[in-house]
Symmetry: C2
Subunit: 394 residues, 2 copies
Amino acid sequence: MTAEPSTPATPGPHAPAGPAVVGVVGGGQLVRMMLPEAARLTVPLRPLVRDHDEPVARVHPHVVVGGPDDEGLRRLAAACDVLTVEHELVDLDTLRALEDAGHPVRPSAATLGIAVDKVRQREVLGAAGVPVPPWSLVTSMDEVEAFAAEHGWPLVAKAPRGGYDGRGVWFVDGPGQLEEVLTAAPGPLLLEPALAIERELAVLVARRPGGQHVVYPTVETVQVGGICHEVLLPADITPEQDRRAGQLAELVADTVGSVGILAVELFVVDGQVLLNELAARPHNSGHLTIEASVTSQFENHLRAVLDLPLGDPAARVPAAAMVNVLGVGERDPRARLASALAEGCANVHLYDKAPRDGRKLGHVTATGPDRAVAAEQARRAAAALTGPEQETAG
Amino acid sequence: MTAEPSTPATPGPHAPAGPAVVGVVGGGQLVRMMLPEAARLTVPLRPLVRDHDEPVARVHPHVVVGGPDDEGLRRLAAACDVLTVEHELVDLDTLRALEDAGHPVRPSAATLGIAVDKVRQREVLGAAGVPVPPWSLVTSMDEVEAFAAEHGWPLVAKAPRGGYDGRGVWFVDGPGQLEEVLTAAPGPLLLEPALAIERELAVLVARRPGGQHVVYPTVETVQVGGICHEVLLPADITPEQDRRAGQLAELVADTVGSVGILAVELFVVDGQVLLNELAARPHNSGHLTIEASVTSQFENHLRAVLDLPLGDPAARVPAAAMVNVLGVGERDPRARLASALAEGCANVHLYDKAPRDGRKLGHVTATGPDRAVAAEQARRAAAALTGPEQETAG
């Protein structure tokens, strides 16, 4: 806890005639990475944090304290001109009420309502012509057996809402395992076949309220147990798959009416590009845009929610790689900085979070002429941050 | 003024086992541009600001209030583990006393003592074998006439201390003008011939306390009336001049024993590379390293003063250009953001300063395969920020 009081909506007498005040639901690494871009553009940022120990509150003087509930969201709205989010676990009824009262919410409650609901995603986007994997919403073993009869085992069961980083997703080999999941997870389950995934891709779209948008280069994501470990640019796909991925991302953004960054995660299965899921906010798959793109996802998110002209999403480097720094026990990357920096060519980003096993504590990006070389540089620095070496603060 | 109290040296109970606390004398754009790098590396930064309206205080929760005088410097030292500067107009006696008491000051008072004194620069560096233009320290018109007899008119007269951005420098055509300067400016004057400058260059060196250092690619600076207007990468020089510029910068850094970033400004005269002057801190000529280098000057300054391994200074792009946004009357770049962003490919950096004629209010950087194209992009966006168009906030 720091000693600063939160000071929402108190722009002093020298407040510039600049951009409007942006309130952001959340105080984690995503809004922390918005700070430099906000400062460069003199965008006043007001994150909504649960307490002063969240990553953004350590380095930003103006925060609003509260949760993403009715009380917190109304407090945030009173402190900003435009409200946006760094995560989707938000009280959507309050956001709708704020919109009805004329407060800009970007992305809208309607877009967020689709982003948080995997079943609605498949319904809405499937109807719009976006190819989605076969799926069924089941509540009974009879329905499971019917789906398995068509698609075979193994299957993937997903909680329709609230899952992330591998939580709320179960790979099941047969009816016994699935019955356990149905018993443990209350409510209906989304079933999909266990696809033979050749590649996982992500495409970011930055979109303004009027629909003007820019599409980032397709990246390849490497997931382990549902958690993103690496992101690689360029994706190792055919030009036709690349074109298709961008086209689908645009179609998804238009269909859900996103404003700000929309991250569209895709599968390549049997050579075809299918929708996996989406996130209506800056996304882990876009962290490498800080170094690799002319305009980072964080800058374009702010530009889009402020309805300012969007920046060029093109890569300024031939290749880049981002490797997440995932917690290993109690090891603290902040105490291992020197050994990571000694690795040389990589850019270390730490989120200043207390270490915990599996937690995203930071990431490392490297750029260069060759994707494999960049990935190796980023991996070495990331490994040094959670490695077994002795802790020595710089 | 904002409502936050300054909270030096109060790292809460969750303070990480990370890098040491860095105190920085100054609250302007240079320390503001250190903030993102400090956040990424979890370096606790404590700028010394005169008031809460300085550019850094608007976006950073932890500042120490005071001037660069004995009282302020001691207050800053008490709040940090390592003390550094964003400008050289500092009470050097206090810095020496702090050093004597065992407090790390990086760069040292000795290095800063050379950086602030153009005569000592020429003495110390000339003696070390760095080629400097012909010079003389004069107090009387007899001495002026003697120097003019050897080098001819016109001459350049410089105040030995305190000049920057064209202040404290006079181009004089003959004895009458020089007599006016001698009368107006008390104390001795540094005289130099008016050189036929072919190019102005700058080379940044980042150097650790033990002498380990990295050298940034040579850039070309475009000065108008002693004020930097543009910085271009690569410099339009021969490979031999490039090699020589880097070699001289290393020699200067070793000779003055710099720690942190040292900016070495050079002239090309008659094909030869000569020392112009130096700055022992991050420098305007290095702003393009944010986008163009693997490691920015701001990150390597922090790494160096913390004695952490230095990052790669190499360019990750073939070419880059930085154009300063200089105040034009009362026009406020913050209110012209939308038209600048509409220019597309450039990265806009605003310092959130009140507009004033000629004041550095921001800069714009563009990168790409071609230096001329990047310069044109950056110029267009910079011009839009101070152009005559109607003010419309985003």
